[in-house]
């Protein structure tokens, strides 16, 4: 059953849960995934985001999120000035390309010339979000709970290895999905857990035979 605080809530910066609160969360999630100082951010907006972002403050909310502000942080309004202070260059592009959803943003985040990541996400309404792509790889990260995403070889034992390690650490899995490009090729596992996963466990997961890469997400 729904909590009364989801009925009268969330506390948020207006005007729109999808175009403002969701945008701030997308920015915050992108910041966490990038995991490095952001010197330049190029945001491409699609659909309704592209058409209405200035009126909804979607641009300010996205930048606020990149600065680490929450969806109820009064500083969202002034995020451009904050970005300027932090020497983060920000650019917005509008695209008419159909991304299959009305509220989509693509972040191109840079740390000087050293690193660059492309992160695509959508705002689902009511402040809910989903990151759908990281550097061209399809993902489904909602920022609602703790989650790991691993890239592995499609071979027997990988799923058991990862879930076994989580079990040993007494971390409960709330949902799990495994998909692959084709047999014996690249596969992806998305695991959501009820609690955080520490660095040591993540390293052990990375060492499971067949696992190539592990990404860890915390709720935003």
């Amino acid at each position: 059953m729904i909590s009364i605080f989801d009925v009268i809530g969330p506390v948020m910066i207006g005007p729109s849960s999808s175009h403002t609160a969701g945008a701030a969360r997308l920015g915050k999630m992108a910041r966490a995934i990038f995991g490095e100082p952001i010197t330049k951010a190029v945001m491409t907006l699609y659909g309704s985001f592209a058409k209405t972002y200035k009126g909804h403050g979607t641009d300010k909310a996205l930048v606020g999120g990149l600065l680490g502000f929450d969806a109820d942080d009064a500083r969202l309004k002034d995020s451009f000035a904050e970005a300027n202070k932090k020497k983060m260059d920000i650019f917005f592009l509008e695209s008419s390309e159909d991304m299959g959803h009305p509220n989509v943003v693509k972040f191109d985040l840079y740390n000087g010339d050293d690193s660059h990541k492309t992160i695509v996400g959508r705002s689902l309404g009511g402040g809910l979000i989903m990151i759908t792509e990281i550097d061209g790889f399809p993902v489904e990260v909602t920022g609602e709970d703790y989650a790991i995403m691993s890239l592995h070889n499609d071979q027997p034992g990988v799923v058991a290895g990862v879930s076994g390690l989580l079990g040993e650490e007494n971390i409960n899995i709330s949902s799990m999905r495994v998909f692959r490009k084709r047999r014996h090729s690249d596969a992806v596992m998305m695991v959501s857990t009820d609690g955080p996963i520490d660095q040591a466990t993540l390293q052990k997961i990375e060492a499971v035979p067949g696992v190539k890469r592990v990404m860890y997400f915390e709720p935003v």
Partner: protein
């Protein structure tokens, strides 16, 4: 003891069987479901009531327009005007509700109740009533619980998003939550609270969501003012003992059916209604070129 409810009727039954008030049922269920103490739930309610108060203040202080030019300064203008027609309470509720939605449009902090587009009605009306009748914080907490219980039923049984059910789902739910809460605040019993919900909802069915330029401003901001008065009207009727021929749960069901049969153009897509008027389209063009 299980205090969970799916319908307004469930809440009424629990009130009767357990000799509890409407707000007590909602409070006990929240404590049970989420394993929280009473103190903890009430403290969180207080934090939201604080934001209610701040958002009214912020809205009344706004002295510039939004980037679209469609809203801003209207609450201030209303506060400066001496009401010629409306009573003091209705006028203040209308003004405060508009203030909160103007604060929302200006990127201030608000509480979605149940959505951002309908965030003014509940806080505006409750705080106006609290001022006019010198009600305590504790009374406001009870009103919050009554409103939340009503909103929870609508969320679970129907819809509260304009994109799903039109404005009747957003502003309609906000008004029904408010009507019930006002009845509770003025000493009405749980049956009268349910009547207020039915009367309020019944008389706004079919309200569409057609925001100009896709923004939460026109008609949303002023509409919050209008429907705070509508909520008070429903509460007044319920307190006078007026009964709805159709019970609250069935009205909510009707709202849901109507909402889902509305054309997509009138469900937050800005492809119809006010959004596609000559002026509406000109404003949308202006917003695109900002």
């Amino acid at each position: 003891m299980d205090y969970s409810y799916e319908t307004i009727e469930d809440i009424l039954r629990l009130c009767q069987e357990e000799k509890l008030t409407f707000d007590q049922v909602v409070l006990r269920n929240e404590m049970n479901q989420f394993e929280r103490t009473e103190e903890d739930v009430l403290a969180e309610i207080d934090r939201r009531l604080d934001v209610f108060e701040e958002s009214v203040k912020e809205g009344l202080a706004i002295d510039s327009h939004t980037p679209s030019g469609m809203s801003g300064k209207q609450a201030k203008q209303l506060e400066a005007h001496v009401p010629l027609l409306l009573g003091k309470l209705a006028y203040k509720a209308m003004t405060y509700s508009i203030a909160v939605n103007e604060a929302n449009a200006k990127m201030s902090r608000i509480v979605a109740c149940p959505t951002a587009g309908s965030c003014g009605i509940l806080p505006g009306t409750l705080l106006a009533l609290a001022e006019e009748r010198e009600l305590s914080r504790d009374a406001l907490r009870k009103a919050f619980l009554i409103a939340a219980g009503i909103g929870a039923v609508v969320t679970e049984r129907a819809c509260v998003a304009g994109a799903v059910g039109g404005c009747q789902a957003e502003v309609g739910t906000a008004a029904a939550m408010t009507a019930g809460a006002v009845v509770g605040l003025l000493g009405g019993n749980e049956r009268q609270i349910a009547q207020a919900v039915a009367l309020c909802f019944k008389n706004l069915l079919g309200l569409v969501c057609d925001p100009v330029a896709g923004l939460v401003e026109v008609p949303c901001v002023k509409r919050n003012g209008f429907y705070s008065v509508h909520a008070i009207t429903a509460a007044e009727m319920a307190l006078a003992g007026i009964k709805s021929q159709i019970p609250a749960d069935e009205v909510i069901e009707a709202m849901n059916r109507i909402g889902r049969s509305l054309p997509a153009a009138l469900r937050e897509t800005s492809d119809g209604g006010l959004a596609t008027t000559v002026t509406g389209k000109a404003i949308a063009e202006h917003v695109r070129n900002l």
